[in-house]
């Protein structure tokens, strides 16, 4: 499978004008790849994730092309997207704790959902039970109401439901953010197991927590202020990033075991730009230590080494000379 995104641009409509939340995103995900999507709050990663599966107002599709397994994905058309949802592309939402109907038993809800998608529940029941085992949930959870389940149980239940039809692409939106550290580990490992057992083909894991992504992702894509900054295999991103933003991001992460008794935690000075009227060109320009004149033009997201994409004029310059 592969996901190919070309020039995807999605804005948010507000009374004050359009918020340019996602600008000309071009990238791809290979079959079997778990790609992490990281960046600060408001960088557009959730917009990207959601626009691929449920593009509703106030989001507005401006331009772009998305292909999944070679087929055009009509993300701007809510009706036509229905045939792709759940089967080709699926999502584990951020609000997994509230994602299930509170007045329906979980099993009944799954039955009705499958029925409405013309999938036979009875045929899929053994597979469903197998998946429940995989996430260490008892079979009788199907007979419970969401309110009877703990947060962790609901999270795992939603994971099972979302992957029931073995989607080609699974979008996992901040699935570890609301959990404690040990649960985070368990959920993250479950995601990898899903991919390994082919419950989903590839995954896009959205998180602001790079350390989690480091554990499970094959590659990581960094976003800032609606633009793609860098994408590379995980080791490369963490140990030898090329984009100035990524470099500062990685270096501002605290390290376990290191004491900062005298030194202070280095952050990135400044604030992200408001996206109602963002600056022209590279949006990191104003906080970038190595920005220069050319940065007023939008740098393209180019491959400088195999599998390593960067959007930075400085790096292109350095690469050209190398």
């Amino acid at each position: 499978m592969s996901l190919q995104v070309e020039n995807l641009t999605v804005y948010y409509q507000t009374l004050r004008g359009d918020v340019k939340a996602l600008e000309s995103a071009t990238f791809s995900i290979q079959g079997g790849e778990i790609m992490g999507l990281a960046g600060e709050s408001g960088c557009g990663k959730t917009t990207l994730g959601h626009s691929l599966i449920r593009l509703t107002p106030p989001m507005r599709f401006v331009q772009g092309r998305v292909q999944i397994d070679g087929e055009e994905l009509p993300i701007w058309d809510m009706e036509r997207m229905n045939s792709f949802r759940f089967k080709k592309i699926s999502i584990i939402p951020q609000y997994a704790m509230n994602a299930m109907n509170p007045t329906r038993k979980v099993g009944k809800m799954i039955e009705e959902l499958l029925g409405s998608r013309n999938v036979n529940f009875k045929d899929n029941l053994p597979e469903l039970k197998r998946r429940l085992d995989l996430v260490k949930l008892q079979d009788d959870v199907l007979d419970m109401y969401p309110i009877e389940m703990s947060g962790g149980m609901k999270q795992r239940m939603v994971m099972v439901i979302s992957t029931l039809m073995n989607p080609s692409l699974l979008i996992a939106d901040e699935i570890t953010s609301a959990l404690d550290v040990s649960s985070q580990k368990a959920v993250a490992e479950m995601l990898v197991e899903f991919r390994d057992k082919e419950c989903c083909n590839s995954a896009m894991v959205i998180s602001h927590d790079i350390s989690i992504l480091y554990q499970i992702a094959d590659s990581i894509m960094i976003m800032y202020a609606g633009q793609l900054m860098e994408k590379a295999p995980t080791d490369v991103i963490v140990h030898c990033p090329r984009h100035p933003y990524t470099k500062m991001l990685i270096s501002s992460l605290p390290t376990v075991g290191v004491r900062y008794a005298e030194a202070r935690l280095a952050g990135i000075p400044g604030k992200p730009p408001l996206l109602l009227d963002p600056p022209a060109g590279c949006r990191f320009r104003e906080r970038c230590p190595v920005a220069f004149g050319k940065c007023c033009e939008v740098p393209p997201f180019m491959e400088i080494q195999s599998g390593h994409f960067v959007a930075c004029w400085k790096e292109f310059e350095t690469n050209a000379h190398a």
């Binding site: 599966i53 449920r54 229905n82 939402p93 509230n98 109907n101 007045t103 959902l113």
Partner: protein, 332 residues
């Protein structure tokens, strides 16, 4: 669940005791002398000795010659025996008999209008929430209806359909030339008289329910579980079905809360149409200063409302599956 019903019954019990006590207190603590009023009503008796005898008689009948606490105890005693005293206005009919004659008319008016306005209003409100265009054209109707005073709608309907168009009669529960008996003429006549008062109660309730339901549906459609279903490609009708079922629950509790308003509405409607229900009776009792009848009407109304509340509570438990698992979905 036991705890849920236990609480409810406690509150209803307290409410009943409080209401009955208020009922008992009012004639005794209000300015004015009920005996003098009764005497004036019965007719002036010139002979002072006779007048005094009458006064003593009535004071004794009302139990006003006993100490307060004893009057209170007697009150509860007779209440629990179903004795509400004797009506002055319709002397010598016992109050209970008078009331029981009026209750069927009330039920006949209230039950269909409450049930139908709830059902139709909810369906209509859900329908309005389907699209923005529908919403903008249909919601104002709901707001206007719910803002309409009950008696004005009654007057309007009576005038328009009763006088101007002459399609319906506007007074009484059945024609004055008929006696209640089981025949098609009578039944048709009863329905004929019943229709306009029923309509005015129905329309106002309908508006309120429609608005409430529309708001609830929109709230449910914006809930996380609705978004999740949409993200998994569920068709609109499944999402709407879930939203509707979930929105119904607070609508049921809302119905219980609106009962007081509906009863008041029924009261004025009966006045407009001279429909012989308890409301109409209460007004007649007040105008004739028949204290026993007033008290009786009030008690009946209270009991009716409490029973209705209880029925609604039971219905809620049946419909909300969570309460059966020992969790309360809604705490009143």
């Amino acid at each position: 669940m036991r705890r849920y019903f236990g609480r409810k019954i406690l509150i209803y019990g307290l409410t009943f005791i409080l209401a009955a006590t208020i009922d008992w207190m009012i004639p005794r603590f209000m300015p004015g002398d009920p005996i003098a009023n009764v005497m004036a009503r019965i007719g002036a008796v010139v002979n002072p000795a006779a007048a005094q005898a009458m006064r003593d008689y009535y004071t004794h009948i009302f139990g006003l010659d006993l100490p307060m606490w004893q009057q209170y105890v007697n009150f509860w005693n007779s209440l629990l025996h179903g004795d509400l005293g004797i009506s002055i206005y319709l002397f010598p009919t016992p109050v209970t008999t008078v009331l029981m004659r009026a209750v069927p008319y009330d039920l006949f008016l209230l039950i269909p209008s409450i049930l139908l306005s709830w059902y139709a209003g909810n369906k209509f409100g859900a329908f309005a929430a389907r699209s923005k265009w529908l919403d903008n054209t249909v919601s104002p109707i709901g707001y206007i209806l719910t803002a309409t005073p009950y008696m004005w709608l009654g007057i309007l309907l009576a005038w328009l359909f009763g006088i101007v168009l002459g399609w319906f009669p506007i007074a009484g529960a059945y024609g004055f030339n008929l006696r209640p008996h089981l025949s098609w003429t009578f039944i048709w006549d009863v329905l004929h008289h019943w229709f306009l008062p029923f309509m005015s109660l129905f329309l106002v309730g309908f508006g309120g329910q429609a608005i409430g339901m529309r708001n609830m549906i929109i709230y449910e459609l914006e809930a996380d579980y609705s978004h999740y279903l949409e993200a998994l490609g569920a068709p609109r009708r499944l999402v709407r079905k879930y939203a509707f079922r979930n929105a119904m629950l607070p609508q049921i509790t809302g119905l219980a809360l609106s009962l007081g308003v509906v009863v008041a509405g029924a009261l004025v409607t009966e006045v407009v149409f001279s429909y012989p229900g308890i409301g109409y009776l209460l007004l007649a009792a007040i105008q004739n200063q028949d204290y026993f009848l007033i008290q009786g009407c009030f008690l009946f109304i209270i009991i009716g409302v409490l029973v209705a509340n209880f029925i609604i509570d039971v219905t809620y438990v049946i419909i909300d599956p969570r309460t059966r698992r020992g969790m309360t979905g809604e705490t009143a």
